[in-house]
Amino acid sequence: MDFTFSDDQLAFREAVSRFLMTEAAPEMLREIWETDVGRSPDLRHRIAEQGLMALSVPESCGGLGMDDVAWSLMTQELGYYAIPDSLADTAYVAAGLIAALPDSVPAREDWLRRITDGSIRIAVGHPVNPLVADAHPADVLLLAHGDEVHAVPRSLADVVANPSIDRSRRLGRVVWEPNTATRVAAGEAGRALWAATLERGVLSVSGQLLGLAQRMLDLSVDYTAQRKQFGKPIGSFQAVKHHLADVATRIEFAKPVLYRAAHAVARGDADAAVRVSHAKLACGEAAWLAGRHGIQVHGAMGYTWEVDLQMFMKRAWALDASWGDRGFHKARVAGFVLGDAAALGPGRTFGE
C-alpha cells in the first residue's frame, strides 16, 4: 500500500511546470484570446517538442505509454497555466480512445504517430457534452452516433461556433452525417469506448479544475500580501485569511480524491465511475470556491478585465459543467452510495 507518486512522476510534473511557466505566461494567453481561431500553432509545436503530446500514446507508436495517474499530475499543470489549447483532449482523451481501437482500424497507428509529433488535432464529441470543444481547428472529430464511434475528417463536418465566456474555450455545434466509411467502432465495442472516454474526459477536467483552483489561490495570496488598507496588507486581516484558508483546505482534500480516481481508471476498478465523479465534484467545488473567494479578496480589481484572475476564474466556471455537470456526477455518486450493493464504511476505500 503506497498512495504516493514516485520521484520520477514528481520530477516530470516539475519539468512540465517549469516549461509552461515560461511558454504560457498570462500575457501570451491574452494574445491568443484575441485571435480568431484562439489557438497558437507555435505553442502546440513547442508542447509537442517537449514530448507532452506523446504521454498516452503506446510506446509501440513512439509514445511514452503513461497512464491516468501520471495525467492526474499533468492536467493540474495544464489547469494552473490555463493552457488555451485542447492539448489534453487530443493527447489524453482522444489518444486513449484511439489506442483502444482494434488494429483493424487502418488509420489508428497513423493517428497515434501524428498525436505524438503534434501534427494532428483531434476533437472529441462525447454525448455528455452538448457542444464539441475545439471542433473548428480539429483535423479529425471523434463523434458518437448511438453506440458507434465515428472518426470524421473536418472537411465532412459543419461547425457552428458558440462562443464561451472563457475565451480559451472554442465550442462548436457539429453538423454531420454518419456513414460506414467514418465508423471505427460499433455495438458493445463502441459503448465500451465511449464509457472509458467519459471517465478520461472527466478526469482531465477535474485535474485542470484543481490546477485552476491552485492558481487562483496563489494569485489571491500574492495580491492580498501586497495590497494595503488601514496601513496594513489586507492579507493580515482574519476575514481575508479565512477565505483563503478555506480554499487551501478544499484543494488539499480534493487532490487525493483525484489521484484515487485516476488510479481506479488506470486499473479498471469496478467503482471507477463513482471515484471519478467524486473527483469531479471535489475539484469543481475547490475551483468554484477559489473563484468566489478569489474575486472577493481582490475587491474591485477582481471585477476588472485587467487583473489575471478573470482568465482562470472563467475557465473554472466553464470547465465545472463540462464532461457532466454536478447533477450528472451527484447522480452517479448517489446511485452507488444509496444503492443496495454499496460496500461502505471503514476499510473499503481501496476496494478491499
Binding site: T4, V221, P233, F237, T249, K255, A282, K330, L338, T349
Partner: protein
C-alpha cells in the same frame, strides 16, 4: 502508487477483525463522561492492552506492536467498523505519549508509557486557563523552582474528564519574569497531590465531561518535567500538528459514521425525501469521509518516504470537525421530531446515539485549537500571509 495491501497487512486486518468480533462488548458501555462509564472504559482498555492492541504503533517494549502508520490506519478502520467503545485515555495516549517518546528521558518513558498503554494511569490535559484559551501563550499558572521541586499555583480549565483521571500534563510558567511562550515548562502532575482541587464542569450533555483544576502550593518533583526548563512551549507544540491533525481523529471513525448515516437515511427514506437537500447531504457525508481517508493514506505514504508533516496538517482538523458536525446535523434532520429524545426516552431511536454524537460534534470545531485558530495557522504558515 500501489493501492493493494500486502499479505502481512491483510493478515493483521484479519487478526484485528477477529479479535474485535470476539471481544467488543455486546451492549454499549455507559458514557465515559460518568464515573461508572469511565471505569467500564478503563476495563475495556485493559483488555485491549492485554491483546497488545491498545497502542499498536508503540514499540513492543512499551506494550505495543511496532506497527507502521498503514497498519495503524488498518487497525483504526477495523476498530471503528466493529462499533468498539470510544478510547477513554486518548488524550494521554495520543497527545502526551508521542511527546514523551520525543522529549522524555529514558526513565520517564519506562515509568509512564507502559502504564499509559494499559490505562493504569489515566491522563488529563492542563493547557487552557480562564484567560488563556485560544491565546495559550497567555498562561499564568506558575511553577516556581524550590530545590528539587516545583511549587505550582494557579488554575487550569476545560480539562476533559479530569475528575476521574489520575495524572495531568500541562504547561506552567516556571520563569515568573517571562512572558508569552517563553519561560514555560511542561510538567506531569499527579492529581492526588496535596493542594490540587478539581471541580467538575457540567457539559452540554449534562455530564461532568470536563473540569477546572486549582493548584495551591502543589509540590511536583523536578524529574516530572518533560524537556528543558523554560522550553515547555516548544515541547508542547512540536508534536501538536500531527497529533491534532491525524492521530487524534483517524478516518475510520468518520467513515463508520457516514455508513451509519446512509443506513439511517434508508430506514427513513420516505420522510427524509420530503426535504430534497437531505439526500444530497448524506451523499456528501460519504464523499467527505472518503476524502478524509484518502488524504490520510496520502499523508502516511509521504511520511513513510521521509516527508515531514507540515502546516497543512491544520487543514485536517477543520475537515474532520466540520464533517462530523455536518453528518450529525443531517442525522438530526432525518430523525425530525424524534431527534430531541434522550437515551431514557422509550421512543428514542438507537439509544439516542445520534443526539449524543450531535452534542459532542458541537465541540469539534472548538477543542484542540478552534477552527479559527487553525485557519490562521493555514493562512500564515502554509500560505505565507502576514501576521495580524
Amino acid at each position: 502508487m500501489d493501492l493493494a495491501y500486502t499479505p502481512k497487512q491483510r493478515a493483521f486486518r484479519a487478526e484485528v477483525r477477529a479479535w474485535l468480533a470476539d471481544n467488543v462488548p455486546r451492549t454499549p458501555l455507559a458514557s465515559y463522561d460518568t464515573r461508572e462509564g469511565f471505569e467500564q472504559h478503563r476495563e475495556w482498555e485493559r483488555r485491549l492492552f492485554d491483546a497488545r492492541l491498545s497502542m499498536v504503533m508503540w514499540p513492543e517494549a512499551l506494550g505495543g506492536r511496532g506497527c507502521d502508520l498503514i497498519e495503524w490506519l488498518i487497525f483504526e478502520e477495523e476498530y471503528y467498523a466493529s462499533g468498539a467503545p470510544l478510547r477513554v485515555n486518548q488524550n494521554g495516549q495520543l497527545l502526551l505519549g508521542p511527546t514523551l517518546m520525543e522529549f522524555g528521558t529514558e526513565a520517564q518513558k519506562q515509568r509512564f508509557l507502559p502504564r499509559m498503554a494499559a490505562s493504569e494511569d489515566m491522563w488529563a490535559q492542563g493547557w487552557s486557563e480562564p484567560n488563556a484559551g485560544s491565546d495559550m501563550a497567555a498562561i499564568t499558572s506558575k511553577a516556581i523552582r524550590e530545590g528539587d521541586h516545583y511549587v505550582l499555583n494557579g488554575q487550569k480549565t476545560w480539562s476533559t474528564r479530569a475528575i476521574y483521571a489520575d495524572w495531568l500534563f500541562g504547561l506552567f510558567r516556571s520563569d515568573p519574569a517571562s512572558s508569552r511562550h517563553h519561560g514555560l515548562s511542561f510538567l506531569l502532575v499527579p492529581l492526588d497531590s496535596p493542594g490540587v482541587t478539581i471541580r467538575p464542569i457540567r457539559a452540554l450533555n449534562g455530564k461532568d465531561a470536563f473540569a477546572e483544576i486549582f493548584f495551591d502550593d502543589v509540590r511536583v518533583p523536578v524529574e516530572n518535567r518533560v524537556g528543558d526548563e523554560g522550553k515547555g512551549w516548544h515541547v508542547a507544540m512540536a508534536t501538536a500538528g500531527f497529533e491534532r491533525g491525524l492521530l487524534l481523529r483517524s478516518p475510520g471513525r468518520f467513515q463508520h459514521t457516514a455508513r451509519r448515516l446512509v443506513a439511517l437515511y434508508q430506514a427513513h427514506r420516505e420522510s427524509a425525501d420530503r426535504d430534497p437537500t437531505i439526500r444530497d447531504a448524506v451523499c456528501e457525508s460519504w464523499m467527505g469521509a472518503e476524502a478524509y481517508a484518502l488524504s490520510a493514506y496520502h499523508t502516511v505514504g509521504r511520511l513513510a518516504k521521509g516527508a515531514r508533516i507540515g502546516d497543512e496538517a491544520s487543514t485536517n482538523k477543520i475537515v474532520w470537525s466540520e464533517l462530523d458536525l455536518k453528518m450529525h446535523e443531517t442525522a438530526m434532520r432525518i430523525l425530525g421530531a424524534r431527534g430531541e429524545l434522550v437515551a431514557e426516552a422509550p421512543e428514542a431511536e438507537d439509544g439516542a446515539s445520534w443526539l449524543e454524537g450531535f452534542l459532542f460534534a458541537q465541540a469539534g470545531p472548538i477543542y484542540a485549537g478552534t477552527n479559527e485558530i487553525q485557519r490562521n495557522i493555514i493562512a500564515e504558515r502554509m500560505l505565507g500571509l502576514p501576521k495580524s
